[in-house]
């Protein structure tokens, strides 16, 4: 198994700078996920690693060998394309065997390897079928099987699940995780679906506009987003954001959000340490807010229920205060309906404060 | 990387030389004075345009036999003949071809027989029709007339027109035409204002293609025309055999015929590729 190191990768297409200088590494057997919206440069990065694009500058190393000048054939990389690119005029068997046949491996060895992969991916029944006659999930499995059949050092996957319907996607997500654990190849996985990233990755690199905003374990990214973008991108529903100002008066420090305020005297020193502006953004996830039917503490804020989304086991309550909207995801509270007046409490340990530019103040 | 690039260019140069060679020689011959016709130099030691000019006028020919005079004056007539015949045939072929293609595509008229039969016209060697055509046209006193050739060329190139245009028509969703029909337009208006503009590319492609075919057609013209409706290709062959060893003039004559092609050459390139793939692959 191999280690991947990307240093200061930059890729420019004419006028467009798709990748603006990013660095990251992937350890042996680790799965790193490049997560980000369309156009953030994640696919371009992947293609540079594969050798299908030439970086404008930067270096790529596999196990300390610089591979910038190697053609894709010689990099020892497996790639699963977003549209699978399975060879339509060949059978499943030939598709899986292609990489091995091209390396002039012995026929019997090829045969046993193909059968092994087919068993792993549940393709044994369709081995002799022509690739253009397969179902979507079968094609996807062939694409994966084809890539891993050659025992690549690094496996690259470009949004492999985005073409599937929701049900199949869920199933394939778990299957992929199983395959990952069984086969254990160092992987880089590109996606725009944060749920996929959270499930499948050992570490996530959140990308935006050609740059990496944050790299870390899924839990780190979730609990400690370093930038506004990361906070907004991760989590369903999205984190609540409220513009506010940091004011100190009468010895107390508060976050003033016009319609309400929060007492943050206990952490005001940390805030003052991290930033000098007073224009801040308050962020709180919808599961970190509690709803009460009566006011229980001075921190409770009165809001009105504007809308309720019933998700089955839980509900998302759309609460309004003034012009602002706050979403709270929690179990169903009986007796609350649209128009009810309730109170919410922000869990002070879980609020985030952001500099109006992009930094983070506290957890 | 560099090695591959240089290899590519080397091969390209070789192919270019092979492709340009014959024509370069002809050009060189056509610009040479008679003294140089038998020598092996490509670049004429003395450049003359007489070979070209002599084609057009019946002035004293080099050599001066009776036969020469009667041929030497004729290039303008065949040239014009070819222009007229080729153009009119092309126009007719496109018109009729469009009607047929439209009928087959939209109204499923004619069935498979029509399509197959038109395919047949292309497969049959022209020579096989020489005998009946001779008989046919002479019976109707249509020998050596423009109309005879125009009709014939139209019929023969009809297949191409149908084939190419049908491909383009098929690509247009019938819904667009139906929408226009629903708004009260007569079928004819629908065609002229909706369909035709959209398949402009196909019309151009087939027109150019068919024009080339008509312009260069030889066998039937050879058989069916004598002096009045004689076309350029036939004239070239007559000229070549008549002037015997006057290679410069022959070369000039042959090259003159390619001028319309060269002019059309650039327009063709873009459309020919689309025309072929539409009709053939899908």
């Amino acid at each position: 198994m191999a280690k991947l190191l990307v240093k200061n990768l930059r890729k420019v297409f004419g006028d467009l700078e798709a990748v603006k200088g990013i660095s990251f590494n992937v350890d042996e057997k680790e799965t790193l996920c490049l997560l980000g919206p369309s156009g953030c440069g994640k696919t371009t990065t992947l293609r540079c690693i594969a050798g299908l694009e030439t970086p404008t500058s930067g270096e790529i190393y596999i196990n300390s060998t610089l591979i910038n000048d190697l053609p894709p054939q010689k990099r020892g990389i497996g790639l699963v394309f977003q549209d699978y690119a399975v060879f339509p005029h060949m059978t499943v068997y030939d598709n899986l065997a292609f990489g091995l046949q091209v390396r002039k491996m012995e026929k019997s060895k090829i045969d046993s390897k193909v059968k092994e992969i087919a068993r792993l991916l549940d393709l044994e029944n369709v081995l002799q079928r022509y690739a253009k006659r397969l179902s979507l999930s079968e094609i996807q499995r062939v694409a994966i099987g084809r890539a891993i059949a050659v025992d690549p050092e690094i496996l690259l996957l470009d949004e492999p699940l985005s073409n599937l319907d929701a049900r199949t996607r869920e199933r394939m997500r778990t299957e992929l995780k199983e395959i990952q654990m069984k086969v254990g190849i160092t992987s880089v996985y590109v996606t725009h679906d944060q749920l996929e990233a959270m499930t499948l990755a050992d570490r996530i690199a959140v990308m935006n506009n050609g740059l990496i905003e944050q790299i870390g374990k899924p839990s780190e990214i979730y609990d400690n987003p370093k930038t506004l973008f990361v906070a907004r991108f991760i989590g369903t529903p999205s984190m609540n954001f409220i513009d506010c100002s940091f004011i100190e008066k009468n010895g107390k420090a508060i976050i003033d959000a016009n319609e309400f305020y929060l007492d943050v005297s206990d952490i005001s020193s940390i805030i003052k340490e991290k930033t000098t502006t007073s224009e801040l953004i308050l962020g709180c996830r919808s599961e970190d807010i509690t709803i009460e039917t009566k006011k229980t503490s001075p921190d409770s804020i009165e809001v009105e229920v504007k809308f309720i989304e019933n998700l089955g086991a839980k509900s998302i309550y759309h609460l309004g205060i003034g012009e602002k909207r706050i979403l709270v995801k929690t179990h169903i509270i009986p007796g609350i309906k649209i128009g009810s007046k309730v109170w919410i409490i922000f869990n002070k340990n879980k609020i985030h404060l952001f500099d109006k530019k992009t930094s983070l103040a506290i957890i | 990387m560099n090695y591959k690039q240089t290899l590519r260019y080397v091969l390209l140069i070789i192919v270019t030389l092979w492709t340009l060679g014959p024509v370069v020689w002809m050009i060189s011959l056509s610009l040479k004075p008679p003294t140089e016709w038998y020598s092996a130099n490509i670049i004429p030691k003395k450049l003359i345009l007489d070979n070209y000019i002599n084609l057009f006028n019946s002035s004293v020919p080099i050599g001066g036999t009776y036969f020469m005079t009667s041929i030497a004056e004729a290039i303008t007539v065949p040239y014009i003949n070819s222009l007229i015949i080729a153009s009119l045939s092309t126009v007719f072929a496109i018109l009729i071809g469009f009607c047929t293609a439209y009928g087959v595509s939209r109204y499923k008229a004619g069935g498979t027989f029509t399509l197959f039969f038109t395919l047949l016209t292309r497969m049959l060697p022209g020579a096989t029709f020489v005998a009946p055509l001779l008989v046919y046209y002479s019976t109707f006193k249509l020998m050596d007339t423009h109309i005879a050739l125009i009709l014939l060329y139209t019929a023969v190139t009809l297949t191409y027109a149908i084939w190419i245009l049908k491909g383009y028509i098929d690509e247009i969703p019938p819904e667009w035409e139906e929408a226009a029909l629903l708004e009260g337009a007569a079928p004819w208006t629908v065609i002229t204002r909706v369909t035709l503009p959209l398949i402009r590319g196909g019309i151009l492609a087939s027109a150019l293609f068919i024009f080339i075919l008509n312009w260069t057609e030889f066998l039937f013209a050879l058989v069916l025309s004598v002096t009045k409706a004689i076309t350029l290709p036939v004239q070239i062959s007559l000229y070549a055999s008549a002037v015997g060893r006057m290679y410069g003039s022959q070369a000039a004559c042959g090259l003159i015929a390619t001028i319309p092609m060269v002019i059309l050459g650039y327009t063709i390139q873009r459309y020919l590729v689309t025309g072929f793939t539409f009709g053939r692959v899908r």
């Binding site: 299908l52 053609p71 894709p72 990389i77 497996g78 394309f81 292609f98 091209v102 084809r146 890539a147 | 690039q5 091969l11 390209l12 192919v15 270019t16 092979w18 492709t19 014959p22 002809m26 011959l29 092996a40 009729i96 009607c99 009928g103 087959v104 109204y107 008229a109 004619g110 039969f117 016209t121 049959l124 060697p125 022209g126 020579a127 096989t128 005998a131 001779l134 008989v135 046919y136 019976t139 009709l151 014939l152 019929a155 007569a186 080339i212 260069t216 066998l219 058989v223 290709p233 062959s237 070549a240 022959q250 070369a251 004559c253 092609m261 059309l264 050459g265 063709i268 072929f276 793939t277």
Partner: protein, 303 residues
């Protein structure tokens, strides 16, 4: 009133469709089908214009002409020659066209110019091509003086057009020169249509360019290849123009006489129109058979 009725009748799709087909039926009938019937009729008669009897009054001689044609050595040789011509010329054009198409894959400076250069032989009238090659292969022409000089050390004077085999070679060369670009065009547009993704996938899997060619590109353009080969073969079978001007429709002797040349001569030189018709019919039947048996199944496979 009547006008309205006609317009209404026209507006019905079925009728409008029929109207549309009328022009082509008309012209095809007029120009091709009627002569075709005449062709069949003539084959069974003994019409020779020189005799002075009108063609519709000539005697009917049954199958006599046809039997004579089948036994006609010259006819059979012409046919054989044409077949050899087709089966030599078309594969060469295919391979060369494929080679050039591969050469053009990808981007490089001057691609547009090179493309125009490569394509223009197709646009030259066949007669001019024939003339050009005739001039090239003259006794003191450039082929003898310039090209073969380095090989033989001095100017050769090979009389290309007086030797049967060499003459045949020259007409083959002319055809190859003129039609390889067509193969190139068809094959190139097919190759370009192969999805780039598949090529990339093959590359990442370790395939070299040759392997990609053999296992991805060629298999995917197979239908196109078949179509191109069939079309070119049919056209090559009909070769006449270049032969006419280069070797005088068959010279020396009958060494380069293709089947089109022979039938042409029968009609024009020998004026034996009935015999020519019989020969023509036999050729047509042959082509129809070959199409039905060999080509149609191939064509269907490519659908």
């Amino acid at each position: 009133m009547v006008f309205e009725k006609i317009v209404n009748w026209l507006r019905q799709p079925k009728n409008f469709g029929k109207i549309l087909m009328m022009p082509s039926s008309f012209i095809l009938n007029l120009v091709l089908i009627i002569p075709f019937s005449i062709l069949i009729y003539l084959g069974f008669t003994n019409y020779i214009p020189a005799r002075g009897i009108e063609w519709w009054r000539s005697d009917i001689v049954g199958f006599a002409n046809f039997i004579k044609v089948i036994g006609d050595e010259r006819f059979l040789w012409a046919l054989l020659r044409t077949i050899i011509f087709v089966f030599t010329v078309v594969p060469i054009e295919f391979l060369l066209g494929l080679g050039i198409a591969l050469l053009f894959l990808g981007n490089f400076k001057g691609k547009k110019i090179f493309t125009s250069i490569i394509l223009y032989p197709m646009m030259i009238p066949w007669i001019t091509v024939g003339l050009a090659f005739h001039l090239l292969f003259l006794d003191f022409g450039p082929v003898n003086s310039i090209i073969l000089k380095p090989i033989f050390g001095e100017s050769v004077t090979i009389s290309w057009f007086r030797d049967p085999i060499l003459a045949f070679l020259t007409i083959m060369l002319a055809d190859i020169w003129q039609w390889t670009p067509l193969m190139f065009l068809i094959l190139y547009s097919g190759l370009v249509a192969v999805p780039e993704r598949l090529i990339e996938a093959a590359k990442v899997l370790g395939a070299s360019e040759t392997q990609i060619l053999k296992r991805i590109r060629l298999p995917l353009i197979k239908p196109l290849i078949i179509v191109a080969l069939i079309i070119r073969s049919l056209e090559a079978f009909k070769v006449f123009d270049t032969v006419f001007i280069m070797t005088g429709a068959g010279g020396p002797g009958t060494a380069t006489e293709t089947i089109s040349c022979y039938i042409y001569k029968l009609s024009i030189q020998y004026s034996n129109l009935s015999y020519a018709s019989a020969a023509s019919l036999l050729i047509l039947i042959m082509i129809a058979l070959v199409t039905r048996v060999a080509i149609k199944p191939l064509a269907v496979k490519t659908e």
